[in-house]
């Protein structure tokens, strides 16, 4: 008979255990990093500021921009793609948003156009990849520079600064660690991030679209064989990812209150790093939203912890770089032994 009967004796399905392992790894790393910095911080004379609610709020606020863009990047990486233009698209969205605010358009419209710019950029990425059949790395390497140029054109090679009065209160408070209402614990932007993360996570696990994303990433040939419309699905993935990059542009603008065309250059790397630290595989088919959020947090905890320990920037960068290499190595090792 089939081996199905033995299943009741196994409390975890194989997929469940696998999920636990991939999520548990980054999570344990996060706990470890927090523990190390808490101990180290408490050992210094004027320590005790690291493990506080105030600092936790700061860390979440500071990681929110990378994290929200990384939601879309997770989908892209699961589908065996990559988006190198995420950083400059984010700056382009922020610049467009700032420009519309400065020109006196109503803020909701400015936000919609700013985020819409991100969607459009993603749509263009996905369409070029699907139509030209060039690998995502090259296409987005090109559009990365194109979007930077567009942002500079809009900003006339300088920053777009709307008046204080032109920026609505809610936008300023989106990611303000000092809360208007104490009961909220975290600013609204962090809550919005969590809601969107839950939604994407559910879409990836429980929808036809999510299954198709994994199928394309695991084996594009199989996806084609099964009649999945690969080009269309890919365009959808990049467009949705563009939405999240546009949201990241909104978040960045909310914190800086200026649209700086060059502020996104290089920002694609922490976004990709968050996904990779969180267990995403650049060869596709693997990755989780929970892992990605954990990855974004790990990076921010390290940089915040280093600041608390009065360590200079270069040290933070070296540690984060080492974490990326370690995360991928551990993941490979786990896969090899599993």
């Amino acid at each position: 008979m089939s081996g199905l009967s033995s299943e009741s004796a196994r409390p975890w399905s194989t997929r469940g255990r696998q999920w636990l392992r991939t999520v548990l790894g980054p999570f344990l790393a996060l706990v470890l990093v927090v523990a190390v910095f808490t101990v180290a911080d408490n050992m210094q004379a004027d320590g005790g500021k690291f493990a506080t609610l105030r600092n936790a709020q700061n860390i979440l606020v500071q990681s929110a921009t990378v994290a929200i863009a990384a939601l879309g990047m997770t989908m892209i990486i699961i589908s065996a793609g990559i988006d190198l233009s995420a950083g400059t698209t984010m700056a382009l969205s922020a610049t467009v948003l700032a420009w519309f605010l400065r020109e006196g358009y109503p803020p909701p419209l400015a936000v919609a156009i700013g985020v819409g710019t991100g969607c459009l950029a993603g749509f263009i990425n996905g369409s070029l990849i699907s139509l030209l059949r060039v690998v995502p790395f090259i296409i987005t390497l090109g559009t990365m520079t194109i979007y930077l140029g567009l942002a500079k054109m809009i900003g006339r090679s300088t920053m777009v600064r709307p008046d204080r009065a032109q920026i609505p209160d809610w936008m300023g408070e989106l990611l303000l660690p000092r809360l208007k209402y104490e009961w909220m614990i975290f600013p609204p932007g962090v809550w919005l991030l969590l809601i969107l993360a839950l939604l994407v996570s559910a879409v990836l696990r429980y929808t036809v679209f999510g299954k198709h994303v994994f199928a394309i990433g695991s084996s594009e040939a199989t996806a084609r064989l099964c009649g999945i419309n690969v080009p269309l699905t890919r365009i959808a993935i990049y467009t949705i990812a563009g939405f999240f990059v546009g949201m990241a542009g909104l978040y960045q603008f909310a914190r800086l209150t200026i649209g700086d065309p060059t502020s996104g250059t290089g920002k694609e790397l922490p976004i990709i790093a968050a996904v990779v630290i969180g267990g995403g595989s650049l060869s596709g088919g693997r990755g989780s939203i929970l892992g990605t959020l954990t990855g974004a947090l790990i990076m921010q905890v390290i940089s915040s912890g280093c600041t608390a320990l009065k360590q200079p920037n270069p040290i933070q960068e070296i540690i984060i770089g080492a974490i990326i290499v370690a995360a991928v190595t551990v993941d490979q090792f786990r896969r090899g032994s599993g």
């Binding site: 997929r15 198709h212 996806a223 064989l225």
Partner: protein
């Protein structure tokens, strides 16, 4: 010589949920050839890996010449006296014969190779094999495959090996070279070395081996002296059933036309293919590799670009996209199980339902519980051995993977099943199950196109067989009117 030179007792090994070996015991005696026989997936390669130290067993012991033997890696195994001769030879192509023989065991002084002393050892080893004529200073790249194999064996002798394991050594040799190899093995035997000889070919085994051990599903199915054992006894041990049961017959009759092709042409192949297929009919497609069989199926599903021609499925002529063709009732099982047939890292449930998720979907959201129940039902019907529908496909054996691919086309309820080499690389037991499945699907009114390189299965399973050559469909006849040789001459393009 009665004492075992190499002994394995009760060795077990699991990879994840797959039990590759289960309580395997065997012994190889000095001056004797032990044949290790088994189907693909029976556990031969795992056994080899354990002997060579590439993997370590979960339980059980091994002994070599009275000492406990637990190699930590291939080099360790070689130093202990166990050498492997693989199908794919392990030589450095640009080094010469002497250097290859002494590779890893160079005699040196202060880091400089002592050429003269080495040459002597190499000559000694080659002489023992009766091949003192091989030039020592020629890069092995320039030698024939058979001579390269001799170099590998000489390398084993130069390291004073006690046991040599041959893995399918004749698969790339000509008949003449096989004779030479057998002479070499005879010499090895006479010098007291224990030889383990792994092969599918029973005639070979009968000629060269003294004793046999048959593996099936990771366990020893039987062992004994070859003298006095018939071939059908060994086959029965390998297969676990009688050979006559391999091609079960399920009566089926042809109904209305469900698929018709008119002048179908792809980019290069197929060229101008036309035929009709009826419900309840099994059409075999034979042909050499590269004759366009696979491309014909791919054009039918519009996976490869269609240049000309019409495809009619039932009452409609669907558009040239895989989605439209699948929707119209075609389903393809790919010949490339790993690369295309299945998304290896995804679960059985995902792979089985990628082509038809609609029954579980409401506004795009899936009812995973209902899907799982449906998939597990299919898994029971096809006897897929797995822990659950949520297991990833890469953990399954080849035969079970193929069943998952079949579950997919059945689950999508295809009217016309396009099966490309569906029995390649799977064990005999599963082959029999797949033949039975194909016949019973035909009895249910499905039409099947069955592409295979194995003429015997086409002639036994199919109602009609078509032969392809150079992209065109040469001839379709009822299966009874073909023989293996008439198919071959048609595939080669020679008139019988």
């Amino acid at each position: 010589m009665e004492t075992a030179l190499l002994g394995m007792s009760d060795v077990s090994k699991s990879f994840g949920a797959t039990r590759a070996l289960q309580g395997v015991s065997l012994e190889a005696r000095g001056g004797e050839v032990l044949a290790l026989i088994g189907e693909n997936g029976a556990g031969k390669s795992t056994l080899m890996k354990i002997l060579s130290g590439a993997v370590s067993p979960d339980s059980g012991q091994m002994h070599l010449a009275g000492q406990p033997y637990a190699p930590t890696g291939p080099h360790d195994a070689r130093v202990a006296g166990v050498s492997m001769i693989y199908q794919e030879l392990n030589l450095a192509p640009d080094l010469n014969v002497a250097e290859n023989v002494m590779l890893g065991q160079e005699q040196s002084r202060l880091g400089f190779v002592r050429g003269a002393a080495q040459q002597e050892r190499v000559r000694g080893a080659l002489g023992m094999l009766g091949r003192a004529d091989l030039p020592l200073d020629v890069p092995v790249r320039r030698l024939s495959v058979a001579d390269q194999q001799v170099v590998e064996i000489a390398r084993a002798l130069a390291s004073e090996t006690k046991v040599i394991v041959f893995d399918e050594p004749t698969s790339s040799l000509t008949q003449h070279d096989v004779e030479n190899l057998f002479r070499v093995i005879e010499k090895l035997k006479r010098s007291g070395i224990a030889v383990i000889y792994i092969s599918h070919f029973l005639e070979e085994i009968r000629r060269i081996a003294d004793r046999y051990t048959v593996l099936r599903d990771g366990a020893v199915a039987g062992s004994g002296q070859l003298a006095g054992t018939t071939e059908s006894e060994i086959v029965a041990l390998m297969v676990g059933r009688k050979v006559e049961e391999l091609f079960p017959s399920v009566p089926h009759i042809a109904g209305e036309v469900v698929l018709s092709l008119a002048g179908l042409s792809g980019r290069k192949t197929p060229r101008d293919v036309s035929f009709e297929l009826r419900r309840g009919e099994i059409l075999g497609i034979a042909g050499l590799v590269g004759s366009g069989r696979t491309e014909l199926l791919r054009c039918l599903l519009a996976l490869d670009p269609v240049r000309r021609g019409r495809v009619r499925i039932g009452a409609i002529e669907p558009r040239s996209t895989p989605h439209a063709r699948i929707h119209a009732g075609l389903g393809l099982v790919s010949e490339d199980r790993k690369g295309e047939g299945l998304a290896q890292r995804e679960t059985i449930a995902d792979n089985a339902t990628y082509s038809r998720l609609t029954p579980y979907s409401r506004f795009g959201w899936l009812n995973l519980r209902a899907r799982r129940a449906a998939v597990e039902d299919w898994m029971r019907r096809l006897n897929v051995k797995a822990h659950s529908a949520e297991q990833t496909v890469e953990q399954l054996s080849g035969g079970n993977q193929q069943k998952v691919a079949l579950v997919r086309v059945l689950h999508q309820d295809a009217d016309v099943l396009l099966l490309d080499e569906p029995t390649r690389g799977i064990d005999v037991g599963t082959k029999a199950e797949i033949y039975r499945l194909i016949a019973s699907l035909a009895a249910e009114g499905k039409a099947v196109i069955f592409v295979s390189s194995y003429f015997a299965e086409l002639l036994s399973v199919c109602d009609r067989v078509g032969v392809m050559a150079r992209g065109t469909l040469r001839e379709i006849r009822p299966a009874e009117q073909w023989t293996g040789s008439s198919i071959l001459s048609c595939a080669l393009g020679v008139e019988p």
